[in-house]
């Protein structure tokens, strides 16, 4: 029997509103006991968590691992190493691979390749075959193979009838559909948020209405179909308001927000002198959107924080603004950025328990994973973090193959110190253990 004993940490478990100093006993990858002043076991590994915070393993429910097809940008190995380094025990991988993950063999490919990685991978399947929006993909067979959700992320399901069928059919499978809300005609191949900054910079704008129009349509469809829908990377004030109302009406909808939408605005495009690391879809919005996203995150309208980790090779981003691909890599910055927000008290109600809920319990609940909790008897996926550790965003030291972040050089306070997957330490003090 393998025993792990974590002693003296502040244990935060949002799944049962638990927040106190306690010890944890883990046996054979299962949480056996969470108790104050537990007697240490006679043998096994001990982690002294005095002054540290012990939380359920963090779940990043929106990452792009680029595997198969674009392994030069990232692969399942490098992506999960980045995840573990960033404090995540699990990631949900978007299916916009090449070829698209739209059949059970591709789901199995991801599971096989992630069998011994330092973080768990939960593959998602495409909603439509090839993500082309024309024919429904085999949702049922992929679900059987283990797909945790279905999404055409990267693009919207443009055809309203197809979306209706997808939601309705998925309901029969108790499957979750994750939507990327963007009306392509309104987005009009824009490069950044449409507003004062895009006008000054002469970059084509993506109006907030591009997201809101599609979200509004999908909420109306959800009303007639039932089923459950999760909204990826919410970015506008109008979307937050619509989601708040939809939840009040009792629609089965959840939503996530990224750290970059919470922390940056379109001004960054200008201040960085058109740095392509600010090019992301949905785009960095205006200050009032950013404020609204925080309000939504705090009042529960937004259930999860997800990185939308979109790794690109440095060469791909080293171009003129229009030619560079969209995307920000976030696996290794999300937790430190959010911990720094807790430390700074810039947003008063954003406390550590809220952070843990949105980065672990929330996403685990949405994806119905056996994690996001420290309940006795559950799988021992844990993250241990240090609120007082300083962290500098240095892409050159990343485990990810990518470097694309607008946060490079930021000095933050708060970082993960242990990532524990099924009772196995995969990251210790920033170093991967295997």
């Amino acid at each position: 029997m393998k025993t792990l004993y974590i002693t003296g940490g502040r244990v935060i478990d949002p799944s049962r509103n638990y927040d106190q100093t306690a010890d944890l006993l883990i046996e054979d990858g299962i949480i056996k006991k969470v108790e104050k002043g537990m007697k240490p076991p006679s043998d096994g590994e001990v982690i002294d968590a005095d002054g540290l915070v012990v939380t359920p393993g963090l779940v990043d429910m929106h990452v792009h691992l680029r595997d198969p097809g674009q392994e030069y940008k990232e692969d399942i190995n490098s992506g999960t190493r980045a995840a573990a380094a960033g404090g995540f025990t699990s990631v949900a991988a978007m299916p916009n691979t090449d070829p698209v993950t739209d059949d059970p063999s591709m789901i199995r490919y991801a599971f096989d390749k992630a069998a011994n990685t330092p973080a768990r991978v939960y593959p998602m399947g495409a909603v439509t075959r090839g993500q082309e929006g024309k024919e429904l993909a085999e949702l049922g067979r992929m679900k059987k193979a283990g797909a945790v959700a279905f999404s055409d992320d990267g693009k919207p399901v443009v055809d309203g009838m197809m979306m209706r069928n997808a939601l309705q059919y998925a309901m029969g499978l108790d499957a979750l559909v994750i939507v990327h809300e963007e009306d392509p005609a309104l987005a009009a191949r824009g490069m950044m948020h449409e507003g004062t900054v895009s006008s000054v910079l002469g970059l084509k704008g993506i109006p907030s209405a591009a997201e809101e129009a599609m979200l509004s349509r999908d909420l109306l469809i959800l009303k007639i179909t039932g089923g459950k829908m999760h909204v990826a990377h919410v970015s506008t004030a109008g979307s937050v308001e619509m989601l708040r109302r939809a939840k009040k009406e009792g629609l089965n909808v959840t939503a996530e927000v990224t750290p970059h939408h919470l922390l940056l605005t379109d001004r960054m495009v200008k201040n960085s002198g058109y740095s392509t690391n600010t090019k992301v879809n949905p785009p960095l919005r205006a200050e009032r959107d950013r404020q609204a996203l925080w309000e939504g995150l705090l009042d529960g309208t937004i259930d999860a924080i997800a990185s939308d980790h979109a790794p690109h090779h440095p060469d791909d981003k080293d171009m003129e603004y229009d030619f560079a691909p969209f995307g920000i890599a976030g696996l290794e910055t999300t937790l430190p950025l959010m911990l720094d927000e807790v430390n700074s008290e810039r947003v008063k109600e954003f406390t550590l328990p809220v952070l843990v809920d949105r980065l672990s319990t929330g996403p685990a609940r949405i994806l119905q994973l056996d994690s996001g909790t420290l309940k006795e008897g559950s799988t021992a996926d844990l993250t241990i973090l240090d609120l007082n550790r300083s962290y500098i965003v240095d892409p050159d030291s990343w485990h990810s193959k990518s470097r694309n972040t607008p946060f490079a050089g930021r000095r933050l306070l708060g970082a993960p110190v242990y990532t524990i997957v099924g009772g196995r330490v995969t990251m210790k003090e920033g170093v991967l253990t295997e």
Binding site: T196, S199, L201, G202, L203, K204, G273, Y274, M319, E320
Partner: protein, 309 residues
């Protein structure tokens, strides 16, 4: 004479009124050189310049090339189509290659907004933006201001109206910033679809009626209307545009007698500007073209002159 304390000329938004004044004053002495029989000074002898044009250009390219010759610099011109761009080489690699051949200043026109910023960050050579996407065309803005100043004797408190497709125009953006810094009052006019979103950021008034906009104007500047904007649905037809927003003698009937009529070229005659106006006594369009050479000579001088000798 003073020099500019900056490596690059990327746009007028970031430039001060003092800098603009220095450039315009320098341009005046450059124009004097142009009026000589032998239009050549040795000022930039032994200095190398690259003209890199990823978009077709007649006026701007000829203007830069002549400015370079009049200043005795050595220049090479590379056009987007004949360059290695079509072979898939990145902009950065292209310019770095030319840089090690000794080029100290790169003049670039590029269809992507911000590409001049990108280039400036990546090379040691000075970069002069000869138009980047819909962002800025600072040398055009400067030559327009020079032309107005030469004809009116001042820029302060002049009422300038820019008519047409402001939304997609780098010429408009450079003029909006530059003219206002120099104390002019700027308004824009044209259909709302051709205005940039959140126009207020530029601090200018917007008119949809041309007659109203030009009523007390000192300068009216028409912009070239691109046919592809019609295809993208920004307005219904060239004919309707000409009838509603085109500048012609009838529409300018009740305007100041000494109104200046300007156009950055090339003109769609009869669309945004009628021929009688373009070729008439109030037109300073040819002045603009001549001013272009003087302004570009001034910029080359101020960026390269005497700094590394």
């Amino acid at each position: 004479m003073q020099t500019l304390r900056r490596k690059d000329i990327l746009g007028l938004e970031e430039m001060s009124a003092e800098e603009i004044t220095l450039i315009l004053e320098t341009a005046r002495s450059m124009r004097e050189i142009m009026q000589r029989k032998i239009k050549k000074v040795p000022t930039l002898r032994g200095r190398s310049v690259l003209n890199l044009f990823y978009e077709p250009s007649t006026r701007t390219k000829a203007s830069f090339e002549l400015a370079q010759k009049y200043m005795s610099s050595d220049a090479v011109s590379v056009a987007g189509t004949s360059s290695s761009l079509v072979k898939g080489e990145t902009l950065k690699d292209t310019v770095r290659n030319v840089e090690v051949m000794g080029v100290e200043c790169v003049i670039m026109r590029h269809p992507v907004s911000g590409s001049a910023h990108y280039l400036a960050r990546n090379v040691e050579a000075s970069v002069i933006n000869a138009g980047d996407g819909m962002h800025e065309h600072p040398t055009q803005g400067l030559l327009d201001m020079f032309t107005i100043f030469e004809n009116k004797g001042r820029l302060e408190e002049l009422k300038v109206v820019i008519v047409g497709d402001i939304r997609h125009s780098r010429v408009a953006r450079s003029n909006l910033w530059g003219l206002q810094k120099m104390g002019a009052e700027v308004a824009v006019a044209g259909p709302p679809t051709l205005m940039p979103p959140d126009l207020d950021v530029f601090g200018v008034k917007h008119f949809t009626s041309i007659e109203e906009a030009v009523a007390d104007a000192d300068v009216v500047m028409a912009l070239r209307l691109q046919k592809e904007r019609q295809e993208s649905g920004f307005f219904p037809s060239m004919r309707e545009y000409a009838e509603t927003y085109g500048l012609n003698a009838r529409r300018l009937e009740h305007t100041k007698e000494d109104l200046l009529i300007m156009h950055p070229g090339p003109i769609n005659r009869g669309i945004e500007l009628s021929s009688d106006l373009a070729d008439g006594p109030r037109s300073v369009i040819m002045d603009q073209v001549a001013a272009g050479v003087a302004v570009r000579m001034a910029l080359l001088y101020l960026l390269l002159g005497g700094t590394k000798e």
